[in-house]
């Protein structure tokens, strides 16, 4: 059976994780492909997966009634999509659409959370990475709000 461990280990979000933890995460992971224009998820959908992009680009969009979709961020290989694990119910707040053919690893959030509860060392390692990602996203959002070019 194909193991995802090497692919997981190579992704920057999971780099440096203990192989034992990678194996556990691998049990929650599956490879997914999205064609250009295809949605990874849409606003209000249940957030069942967390995506690690291996190839391609994903646009995070907000849909506005009169202007249509507005692209507020592009994510690409090495980055993660989805950061809504803290607030139940887990629903997406934005749309995410593949700009080009995109290959990713989909991590089943529910199953991953259960494993994190069972192994708190794994939970801590993942939350450290997750918190870092949130901090970066927060900084980016503030800079965008500040309108640097205004």
């Amino acid at each position: 059976m194909e193991t995802l461990d090497p692919v997981l280990a190579a992704h920057p979000f999971l780099q440096g994780l203990d192989p034992r933890h990678l194996k556990v995460i691998g049990e929650c992971a599956s490879k997914v492909n999205f064609n250009a224009g295809e949605f990874l998820f849409r606003e209000q959908d249940e957030a069942t997966n967390f995506y690690l992009i291996n190839h391609g680009r994903v646009a995070v969009e907000i849909f506005r009634a009169r202007r249509g979709p507005v692209n507020v961020q592009t994510l690409r290989e090495g980055e993660a999509v989805g950061w809504l694990w803290f607030g139940k119910p887990y629903h997406w707040h934005f749309d995410a659409r593949a700009v080009q053919l995109t290959r990713a690893l989909a991590l089943d959030v529910k199953s991953l959370m259960e494993r994190c509860d069972q192994d708190q060392q794994l939970g801590y390692e993942l939350m450290k990475r997750y918190a870092h990602m949130l901090a970066v996203q927060f900084r980016v959002a503030i800079l965008q709000l500040g309108d640097m070019y205004g």
Binding site: G68, P69, V70, N71, Q73, L143, Q144, M148, Y149, G150
Partner: protein
């Protein structure tokens, strides 16, 4: 310029050869001396004082190729009375030019280095001559990358040239905008985020940064996080320059006159003043 040997405040008349629209409020003007001659020699990063007779004078960076001095190129955004008048000029109109002034980008000290050119908005205009210089002497430099950010795709200047540069195998170009419609296939995100994608050897890299103050501040932070030395980071500062000669004091920033001691500074030299909110 002969005029400036006799009176440095006396502008030389230039004629508009061409006006190109970059964005809704930004135009690139190609100029040549009314009296003919061999044009104006300048170094990348220098600026001229452009004078609209009867309206006023403003400092504008030179944005053309320093190796092709027969024509003078300026990119201007219409933001005030004078710049609006400049943007309203048509082919055949005349304006006055004084310059070039200021300390240029240190491209002549960069051979052997990787060079990162980082621009925000119209900050690409004063960096374009540096890019021309680097590309005209490409073998002398290591890895060469441009990181360019703007508010929206419609605000990107030199769009066709950016596409041409992207097609080169020896020059990596990263572009980003803060927001876009969903037909935009480029990157969306802040320009500082792209620094992490650049390839360079921190020990031997020179960064040339120009854009709004807040963009430069956060970009410098990212560069320092990537291990770049402060003395190898250069920023171009904007102040209210009037005389261009360091006489009037309008552009004073602490101990510096930006028109004469800058506008390009090594970051370690101006860091304290750059971060000081009161000046």
């Amino acid at each position: 310029m002969l005029n400036q040997l006799t009176d440095p405040m006396l502008p030389t008349p230039y004629r508009v050869l061409k006006v190109g629209r970059e964005t809704k409020d930004t135009f690139t003007l190609t100029l040549a001396p009314v009296q003919g001659g061999r044009g104006l020699s300048f170094a990348p990063g220098q600026f001229n004082m452009l004078y609209i007779f009867g309206v006023g004078e403003v400092p504008i960076s030179i944005s053309g190729d320093p190796d092709r001095t027969e024509k003078l190129v300026h990119t201007v955004r219409a933001v005030g009375a004078v710049s609006r008048a400049i943007c309203g000029l048509k082919k055949g109109d005349t304006l006055g030019v004084r310059g070039p002034y200021g300390v240029p980008w240190p491209v002549k000290a960069a051979p052997g280095f990787d060079v990162l050119v980082i621009a925000g908005g119209l900050g690409l205009a004063p960096l374009r001559p540096a890019i021309y210089h680097l590309l005209n002497r490409r073998p002398e430099y290591g890895n060469l990358e441009l990181i360019y950010g703007a508010r929206t795709p419609e605000d990107l200047v030199y769009y066709r040239e950016l596409s041409r540069w992207r097609g080169r195998f020896d020059f990596r170009v990263h572009g980003t905008v803060d927001a876009a419609k969903n037909d935009w296939r480029g990157n969306v995100g802040v320009v500082t985020n792209l620094v992490s994608r650049a390839r360079f050897d921190p020990e031997q890299t020179m960064a040339l940064v120009c854009g709004p103050g807040v963009m430069m501040r956060f970009t410098v932070q990212e560069l320092v996080n990537r291990g770049l030395k402060l003395e190898n980071i250069y920023v171009s500062l904007e102040r209210n320059m009037k005389c261009g000669l360091g006489l009037c004091g309008h552009c004073q920033l602490g101990p510096f006159f930006v028109c004469k001691d800058g506008p390009v500074f090594p970051y370690d030299r101006v860091r304290d003043w750059f971060l000081m909110r009161e000046v």
